[in-house]
């Protein structure tokens, strides 16, 4: 469903992503891990056809993100780090607008908007103006907009940021429920979250893939936290020796 090979992204002289490759099968949930500045958001931006890579290829839902960005965009739901909300609109109105932007068929619009409002726990707030809502609610509206057009692939950049513990559990369950029908990539700093929701983990550091494995294998001996620290700090120690 998602195939990334030798992806490179340079911002001027700075190389954010240096030749990463990984695969995600249909229905899987992939956790994209790594320290701040590792290249997670950049990778997600490329996969959602938001910006082109410097070199390398990425295929999402059977289409190349560079050759056929339109086909990719129709099939991807993307939540950036900052939820892209028109804060002066009302929740329902906004989600209907996103559905139109993504070319969701008219006949399914009401059903899908109702569904994501329900699943993201926005039922009582659907008529509220987004600007008046708390950070947690805004984040939920952000997740809802990524799901409203029933995309094959869902890309979520830190979806549980700003949520309280109860909401985190709800959103986590929501994401788990996507497995099977949707292919999901999510990035997060909360490691237990990965263990609970993801089947696979890709850990990147300094723009390179350090680990590409299932959660089960990674957590066989150590906890995921230990495994993560070993890889990230070990790598950066080796880095400073030069």
């Amino acid at each position: 469903m998602i195939e990334v090979s030798n992806l490179v992204k340079k911002y001027g002289d700075f190389i954010a992503v240096q030749g990463i490759s990984f695969k995600v099968e249909k229905g899987e949930i992939l956790g994209l891990l790594g320290p701040n500045g590792a290249g997670k958001s950049t990778t997600m931006k490329i996969l959602s056809a938001f910006m082109p890579a410097t070199s390398g290829t990425a295929r999402v839902a059977g289409f190349d993100v560079f050759e056929e960005p339109f086909e990719v965009k129709k099939r991807v739901g993307y939540l950036p780090e900052n939820p892209p909300l028109y804060i002066e609109m009302r929740v329902r109105e906004y989600l209907e607008y996103v559905a139109d932007l993504k070319h969701l068929e008219k006949s399914r619009k009401k059903e899908r908007v109702d569904y994501v409002i329900d699943r993201c726990g926005l039922g009582d707030n659907q008529k509220r103006i987004i600007a008046t809502m708390s950070k947690g609610f805004k984040q939920r509206v952000g997740i809802a907009q990524a799901l409203v057009h029933d995309p094959e692939v869902v890309i979520l950049d830190e979806p549980t940021v700003g949520l309280d513990p109860v909401q985190i559990v709800e959103i986590r369950n929501l994401i788990k429920g996507l497995a099977g029908n949707h292919t999901v990539i999510l990035s997060t700093h909360i490691l237990p979250e990965v263990v609970m929701t993801c089947g696979k983990v890709v850990l990147i550091n300094h723009g390179k893939v350090m680990v590409d494995d299932t959660v089960d294998t990674l957590t066989r001996g150590d906890t995921l936290e230990q495994a993560y620290l070993k890889i990230v700090t070990g790598e950066s120690l080796a880095h400073t020796q030069h």
Partner: protein
């Protein structure tokens, strides 16, 4: 899909003006100013009528006065339009909604046209509200030789000119809003750009020959003035349309390049 995308985004763009009181306040202010001006216009007209009754009036006709009235309207539009266009693309950047648009199956040119059309529609509403003035003049004149109503042909040409010159200003504002995240910067540059086009006609006066002719053609207010005298020339249409297409093309380029820079 082309028109469907545009209409989806246009509807949101247009509604966005009415989420805050801004559009109501600005349209209200515009109508209020124009009302005051129209009142003084009528006062002047009556004065001239009285003067000419005593054979003292100069060759002042209602059409000459209307020309001055609409020249004033043009200046007010010049000042107000940048306020309507400054938020077009800047708000998408500051709210992060640009990411939503760029990951949706739409073309940048569709986005640009929708934005332009949203602001242009607001301007059309403002202009539409002032149509009452010439209708009023026409309805209350007795169409006699002493008190002819305004020449509705000239009025029509003037409105066509106003629409074209306003759309040119909207296109300029659309462009400047696309190059910055700051509404204030977009506003200032749009003002500067519009006044620059206006200055061309002043600059033309101090030159001669081919340079003068070129500058005069490029000065949009000169083109507008020929409309408000009732002259419809293909050349003027072409000049306005060229400006609009040129600035929208630049906007499209600036939006496209943003995806590469981000």
């Amino acid at each position: 899909m082309f028109f469907k995308n545009i209409s989806t985004m246009f509807k949101r763009e247009f509604r966005a003006y009415f989420y805050t009181p801004l559009a109501y306040v600005f349209i209200g202010m515009f109508v209020f100013f124009m009302g005051i001006m129209f009142n003084s216009f009528l006062q002047n007209y009556l004065n001239y009528m009285q003067a000419s009754a005593y054979q003292m009036g100069a060759q002042i006709t209602i059409d000459r006065l209307a020309e001055a009235f609409y020249a004033n309207m043009h200046v007010i539009l010049m000042i107000m339009i940048p306020f309507f266009t400054m938020r077009l693309f800047t708000s998408e950047s500051s709210q992060g909604t640009f990411a939503l648009l760029m990951t949706s199956p739409i073309r940048t040119i569709e986005l640009v046209i929708a934005k332009f059309a949203g602001a242009a529609t607001i301007v059309l509403i403002m202009l539409g509200m002032t149509v009452i003035f010439p209708i009023f003049l026409f309805a209350f004149s007795d169409k006699s030789a002493q008190s002819p109503g305004p020449d509705m042909g000239i009025v029509g040409a003037t409105y066509l000119g106003l629409v074209l010159i306003s759309f040119t200003y909207v296109a300029i504002g659309t462009f400047w809003s696309s190059i910055t995240e700051s509404q204030l910067i977009a506003l200032v540059f749009t003002f500067f750009n519009i006044f620059f086009l206006w200055l061309l006609s002043l600059w033309a006066q101090s030159t001669s020959g081919g340079v003068q002719a070129t500058l005069q053609q490029m000065a949009v207010n000169e083109q507008f003035m020929s409309f408000s005298r009732g002259t419809l020339e293909l050349k003027s249409f072409v000049i306005f349309l060229s400006y609009i297409i040129f600035y929208l093309f630049l906007t499209n380029r600036s939006i496209e390049s943003r995806a590469w820079r981000s």
